[in-house]
């Protein structure tokens, strides 16, 4: 049997760029964050966040290319220059990213170097895909695909369930811990669910909540969608909102990415490696 010449990390990224389904933007955050792009790839792990824990598991699993949705080095820019010079996105403009001599930053870089890992970020373009992979991914992990309402990947009509049972079920299926927080009467029965994975706006909550019973959101602001959901409940409506956290809500979207990559680079093993809920609650 002929030994198959393995692809380099760059040779994995090239077809991703060509097939992303949206035109590749030259100045995006979707770049190599650590490691040598010429490294032969033994396996690919997709994840919501390339934490030390994920990198350690990937390394043990002989999986040396990590494709991450969120940053590796503790900030939007991953300690790299802003791809769009002088065009900070408003959030925290002017605030410094992690410094190069930070001990945690240095140790993480060293771990990646020593284990010959490569980290590549896939956020700006993966977010542009249709249908929305975060919605289909979340529904898939929850077993709700069959409950989708028409062609709207953000809407699901599930068998009626109390808010408390639903929250428990979500915690179990998503392996979430204290990251799950709920607004509404635990005994309220809900059926019509809208997904708002990731960060969502007041406008999104105001559009979705009147049309359904419960919003399943990632991250929203306490003085915006949270207060709107509280007021909806206080006005007498039998509704609620469940916040899952940013990473927990979006990570299933990287499971969708795993499926997509398997078809795109069939010569390389690809697996989903969830970073998990970063939060625990005190006893």
């Amino acid at each position: 049997m002929l030994a198959q010449r393995s692809l380099t990390a760059q040779q994995v990224v090239d077809p991703i760029r060509k097939n992303a389904g949206v035109p590749w933007q030259p100045l995006s955050l979707d770049t190599f964050k650590a490691g040598d792009p010429a490294t032969p790839v033994t396996g690919i792990a997709t994840t919501g966040m390339a934490t030390m824990d994920v990198l350690t598991r990937a390394s043990k699993d002989k999986t040396n290319l990590v494709v991450t949705l969120e940053p590796t080095f503790f900030g939007r820019l991953d300690a790299q220059p802003d791809p769009v010079a002088g065009a900070g996105r408003g959030v925290g403009r002017g605030q410094a990213s992690v410094s190069a001599d930070d001990p945690v930053y240095a140790a993480k870089r060293e771990f990646i170097r020593r284990n010959e890992l490569v980290v590549w970020r896939f956020t700006d373009h993966w977010r542009g895909r249709k249908p929305d992979p975060f919605a289909t991914g979340l529904a898939g992990v929850l077993g709700w695909t069959k409950y989708q309402v028409g062609d709207d990947v953000f809407r699901y009509d599930v068998p009626a369930v109390t808010l408390t049972t639903l929250a428990d079920e979500l915690a179990k299926r998503l392996k979430a811990r204290a990251g799950i927080r709920v607004i509404g009467d635990p005994q309220t029965r809900v059926r019509r669910i809208a997904l708002l994975p990731g960060v969502s706006t007041l406008a999104a909550a105001m559009k979705s909540l009147p049309e359904c019973d419960v919003l399943l959101a990632g991250e929203t602001r306490e003085w915006e969608s949270v207060e709107y959901a509280q007021d909806t409940v206080a006005s007498g409506q039998k509704k609620g909102m469940i916040m899952l956290g940013r990473v927990v809500s979006e990570e299933p979207g990287m499971n969708v990415c795993t499926g997509w990559l398997k078809a795109l680079v069939p010569e390389v093993p690809v697996r989903w490696m969830a970073a998990g809920d970063p939060y625990w609650g005190p006893a």
């Binding site: 939007r76 408390t164 105001m206 602001r221 306490e222 609650g281």
Partner: protein, 265 residues
């Protein structure tokens, strides 16, 4: 006295010149000319809180955070929303007035919102120095610290990052929409509300990785309400020192969230 009279009295007693530039500290609902039967201070004028203030016979709400779900309390796009109509009609029908007290209460010295948080934590004597936002506590574990903070602040949905067994002593504290940045001399960063990731510097991922590398670091996310509500009790106490004509009560908006039991700790 009218709601305007109350606000004028507050301006006079603030201790610093009133910031006239603020678009936050203004009337949000009801008429400023309304005769005040009683004042309710709170973290956020949620519909539920306004209903309870009304039931207690208090018709002027002094709220720290917005009433209509956005920082500027802009309502142009809300007119058709049924919940907006419900909230406005409740206020109108019951002669309720809502006024926001945010920028100026933070600007005065001491900042009453800060004083309230530190008081509620029981850390008033533990500040590292005057005007310091860091605290040195008797050495404990992150788990024990988080449990103590939960008890002190009465939280049901506090979130923690880091190893529960990590030995910790120094804490940097922030309130509201704020989280201190991790630094070498600080074991635990604690704040109200913050983006989980994608900011200039992400504490959660940093602490997660620091813990994985065996470092004694922790992050405690209190929630916006939990971190700023105590200060509105201090606000009520302060108002009583110069407003004696009308009853003044602290009426909690309360923590908006609960956590499911199945969320493993």
């Amino acid at each position: 006295m009218t709601a305007t009279d109350v606000v004028e009295r507050i301006k006079k007693n603030l201790g610093i010149p009133w910031n006239e530039q603020t678009t936050r500290d203004t009337f949000k609902a009801g008429s400023p000319d309304t005769e005040v039967k009683g004042i309710a201070t709170t973290f956020m004028a949620t519909l539920d809180m306004i209903q309870r203030a009304h039931a207690a016979g208090l018709n002027m709400v002094i709220t720290h955070e917005p009433t209509f779900w956005n920082d500027q309390d802009k309502v142009q796009d809300l007119a058709a929303d049924p919940i907006y109509k419900f909230k406005v009609e409740f206020c109108t029908k019951n002669n309720m007035v809502v006024w926001r007290f945010h920028d100026n209460i933070h600007a005065r010295r001491p900042d009453l919102i800060w004083v309230g948080l530190v008081r509620a934590l029981g850390w008033t004597d533990r500040a590292a120095g005057p005007n310091q936002r860091s605290f040195t506590l008797p050495p404990t574990t992150l788990g024990a610290l988080a449990a103590d903070v939960t008890k002190q602040l009465g939280s049901r949905a506090l979130r923690v990052v880091g190893n529960p067994d990590a030995r910790v002593s120094t804490v940097a504290l922030a309130m509201g929409y704020g989280m201190p940045r991790v630094s070498p001399d600080i074991d635990v960063v604690m704040g109200g509300e913050n983006p989980e990731t994608g900011g200039p510097f992400d504490d959660s991922e940093y602490v997660l990785d620091a813990a994985a590398l065996g470092k004694n670091k922790g992050q405690i996310i209190l929630g916006h309400a939990i971190s700023e509500e105590p200060g509105m009790e201090d606000c009520a106490n302060w108002l009583r020192t110069f407003i004696t004509e009308t009853p003044i009560q602290f009426v909690r908006a309360g923590e908006p969230f609960w956590s499911p039991k199945a969320g493993s700790r």
